[in-house]
């Protein structure tokens, strides 16, 4: 099968290519990138006029809930949502039920993913049973296909265990991905601690709960020579700690999620449980610091933290509703609307965060457009508006504060391993 993508604007952050070029796909490979590729009999043609042609996007932080909560999302359903959102690769978090802490479960995820349209790279737990007591069999898990380790959803509260995880994982050069939260400082809080939590009488989660853990882990990374990846950075103070760590040569990368550069804790009074996630939405100063951190490359990656919850779970008192929102389908529109249009990001600055950068963190042979590489591509019309409503949302769950919003940036095609896995036609 041969497909020619014509008339598009090729944006490849890895090679700093921004040019009007055609792309020829042969089977699962990019066979040619050049001017005026001629279309021959039997070729499929995609007209990408007015669109950006990007390496297939990578979301390195999603919750697909399988095994355990197949009622809210499965590996298959989540993969379909990812394809619609423009993603050809995702990294699944291991806090399922049971948690992904053995080879059999890693293989189960890989097997389930084969039924779906996109590439799924599982992360496994740092600790056995995600109990925070003993480190998992990292070598065995990597052998089965795990690309990184995280107890996401929970922090590794024990400093000695974190030290061991960072030390032991050095021989595999894999990232230890942290959910940075000092649970004692969180103290059952449910939203950012500050003016809004005071006004609403809701227990606050201080930014320091996140920052002290990032500071600890940066120091332990310096000590051990391990590789740290900080998940879902939400506060300006965290960005500053990571900036300093990077300038000190410590091996740390980090990610943020679209809601942290799009919303503040003002949203909680309006959207109630739809604006409840961990870490919590913070202040306008934090939002600006996150955007600045992305612009300066201190924040390497944008990841959705796609966290489906059933309507019944979210239709509860704010205090009792679970943390988390879905994000695979709103990430591209928020990148285009908030970063590119409102904050003047170049396409390289914006899209390296969902292509080459996460590929490097996870050591995936993806995220670039070059002849001979696997044909994962995403075609986006940045000028086209999308209405975020319940019928737009393919996800089994619609728990997002962006329902009702009109945003720019429509995913037109998603091509994974040479197959068109999503088309907005």
């Amino acid at each position: 099968m041969k497909i020619v993508i014509k008339n598009g604007r090729i944006i490849d952050p890895a090679s700093r290519t921004d040019d009007a070029l055609d792309i020829l796909i042969e089977d699962d490979t990019i066979a040619d990138i050049s001017c005026g590729i001629s279309v021959q009999d039997g070729y499929g043609v995609i007209d990408a006029g007015g669109c950006l042609v990007l390496p297939g996007l990578i979301d390195m932080h999603v919750h697909f809930r399988e095994p355990g909560r197949e009622d809210v999302e499965t590996i298959y359903s989540g993969s379909k949502v990812a394809a619609k959102g423009g993603f050809t690769s995702v990294c699944t978090m291991p806090n399922t039920d049971p948690v992904i802490d053995n080879q059999a479960l890693v293989r189960f995820i890989k097997l389930e993913a084969e039924k779906g349209p996109i590439n799924v790279f599982p992360a496994a737990t740092i600790t056995k049973g995600m109990k925070g007591e003993e480190i998992s069999e990292m070598g065995e898990l990597i052998g089965a296909g795990a690309v990184g380790f995280t107890d996401d959803g929970l922090p590794v509260m024990s400093s000695i265990l974190m030290r061991r995880a960072l030390e032991y994982s050095r021989m595999f050069d894999v990232p230890i991905m942290t959910h940075s939260e000092d649970l004692e400082l969180t103290d059952d809080g449910i939203m950012n601690e500050g003016k809004n939590s005071m006004l609403l009488g809701l227990k606050g989660i201080p930014r320091e709960a996140e920052e002290v853990m990032i500071a600890r882990d940066v120091i332990l990374t310096r000590m051990t020579g391990g590789r740290l990846h900080v998940a879902h950075v939400s506060s300006g103070g965290s960005v500053e700690i990571i900036r300093r760590a990077k300038s000190d040569g410590i091996r740390v990368t980090c990610e943020t999620a679209p809601h942290y550069f799009s919303l503040t804790d003002d949203a909680v009074a309006e959207y109630l449980s739809m604006a409840k996630m961990k870490p919590p939405l913070r202040t306008e100063d934090d939002r600006k610091s996150i955007i600045e951190g992305l612009k300066r490359g201190i924040i390497d990656v944008i990841a959705s933290d796609h966290a489906p919850h059933s309507p019944n779970e979210k239709m509860q008192e704010l205090e009792y509703a679970p943390f988390g929102i879905v994000g695979l389908e709103t990430t591209v529109p928020l990148i285009i609307t908030v970063l590119v249009r409102e904050n003047g990001f170049s396409y390289f600055e914006a899209f390296e965060k969902v292509t080459v950068n996460p590929a490097r963190v996870l050591k995936l042979d993806r995220g670039e457009l070059k002849i001979g590489s696997i044909a994962d591509l995403t075609i986006i019309n940045p000028e086209k508006k999308v209405q975020i409503n319940e019928s737009f949302m393919l996800s089994k769950c619609k728990n997002t504060p962006f329902i009702g919003k009109e945003l720019f940036g429509s995913v037109e095609y998603t091509i994974c391993n040479g197959n068109v896995v999503y088309s907005n036609k």
């Binding site: 601690e193 500050g194 003016k195 939590s197 005071m198 006004l199 609403l200 009488g201 809701l202 227990k203 009074a269 109630l272 449980s273 019944n312 239709m315 509860q316 008192e317 704010l318 205090e319 009792y320």
Partner: protein, 320 residues
Amino acid sequence: MNSLKRKDLLDIQSLSVEEILLICRSAKYFKDIFTRSVKSVPILRGKSVCTLFYEPSTRTKMSFDLAAKRLSADLINFSVSTSSVVKGESLIDTVHTLEAMKVDYIVMRHAASMAPHFLSRNIKASVINAGDGFHAHPTQGLLDAYSIMERHGSLERGSMEGLHIGIIGDIKHSRVARSDVEAFKKLGAKVTLCGPPTLVPDTFKHYGVEISYNLDALIPELDVINLLRIQKERQKGSLFPSLREYHRQFALTDERFRSCRDDVIVMHPGPVNRGIEIDDAVMNSPKTIINEQVTNGVAVRMAIFYLLAGGAPLEEMNEE
């Protein structure tokens, strides 16, 4: 204006000064009625009120019950401890059941902040917040404002201006403190919050209030002293080291009471911990208006039902 153009009464923050004064003036009318021999009026005849208390309460619930009965409403109590809620029914399902029975007013108390706001968006009945988490207790805020203005002789705009009101105690975990501050600030009073920094966070300065950690220095300045109940279990979270030390620093003791202004009034939302936040002798002083607050609470709650129901002109109402 003789009605509240709103479905619900959820917090003080969303009320205008005009609405607060309207509630107070109506409360005065109802207080005059029920402090005479005839206590009921037929304003809510044919309407049904359901009290839905997810947290134990004696005085607030009794006050709402009496207010509804004195307006001739049909009153039902949904007792959470004996209901389907203990079998795991969700709030939204419980309330849809009440709605199916055509209840007009739901008076709700809930341990979770914002629960009444969540509810009000999902049902047609009027929701009256009888206290949600640490967030709001608007009827208490209104009755406290009414009690102060009544003592100072005027329910007109500006009657609270120039007054210095101190709220003493566990501000952080108090819905009464938030609703009081919002009401008093809207009406133009100067407010100082006083307690240990662990219980009086700096974030409260967003209300435009002063914060003091020194009650001895503050107390001669105050026209109104509003004491809050201290929850003994807060001590376990190391928010203060002991009740003895709390009493030493922040109780209205006999000695501190003697340094108050002559015309001071002392308030407390109840129930009182005698010997912890307030000493016996102060409790018994005529400057202490705790029982008057309780009377006013019924009047204010009658006024709220009446005004949410559309507010028929008061002078045309026939007493029964």
